[in-house]
Symmetry: C2
DNA sequence: CCAGTTGTATATTGTACCTATACAATAGTC
DNA sequence: GACTATTGTATAGGTACAATATACAACTGG
């Protein structure tokens, strides 16, 4: 299986790099890969690792800080928060179901067997059930 | 529940409109909302309905035709195919699992209860199990 | 206090989306 | 068979945004 705490981006993807970084890092944070109080790599360090400009990583960190995942300050770096009190976001009508269906439809179109998709979703659903 | 065969786009979303149309239509096609041989609205008709330029819809139809969902010709319009022989696409390493985790992480960040996410995924998994 | 480190701000460049407009191919009608 | 309307297609331009280069401001640690 893939090593934890790894962020992979695809420079050829039409999806913005800063958004890929946000999405990837957020998944790790939700999965509990980082403990509260822990230091994240600096924007420059992660930028070198990923082969992008440090401003691109900085933009990603800003998004996650805005979401309440990080504490971001000059000279200090990025620190992971425990996020007990996330900012009051819009809960209602969060098109998760629709986006999920669209994601599955794309996978089916690309030839992924439905059984495989069903398994992965069931597995993740179980994991969410008992944290 | 939402009326079938409806396509909704968000002009304010950073996501390209043509991609929203593709994703939405593809989900309907996978769900079997359209029968093979059936006519889809013309690019101009759908464009008027959605409030965009017909070239934007045309680009979406072209993507779906490339994927094997539509037969697209001038003067004739867009016809739904049964897609028994989709083009041999890359099956392996189709980041479905990773994208799924990222989608869930975003929903959790936005405050959607994990139980709700688990339920929706389990429901869709069941539906995929018995087509 | 000072040097180094960290995140931030601003300007520039490239790219992609969306539209406007004109064109080409097909269908239907007589 | 020719005409006309309808349909998808091709091309170019306006605009917005992503990614970078560069310079700046704030914090840390000795």
């Amino acid at each position: 299986m893939a090593s934890p705490r790894t962020i992979r981006i695809d420079l050829a993807s039409p999806r913005p790099v800063y958004e890929q970084i946000v999405s990837s890092l957020r998944a790790l944070l939700v999965a509990g890969e980082f403990s509260p109080g822990e230091q994240l790599p600096t924007v420059r360090q992660l930028a070198v690792d990923l082969g992008v400009h440090h401003n691109t990583v900085a933009e990603s960190y800003r998004v996650l800080a805005e979401e309440g995942w990080l504490d971001l300050r000059r000279g200090r770096g990025a620190v992971v928060l425990d996020r007990l009190n996330p900012k009051p976001v819009t809960v209602a009508k969060h098109g998760f179901g629709r986006h999920l269906e669209e994601l599955v439809a794309k996978a089916i179109t690309d030839g992924v067997p439905r059984s495989a998709l069903a398994e992965q979703m069931a597995a993740l659903a179980r994991k969410l059930g008992k944290p």
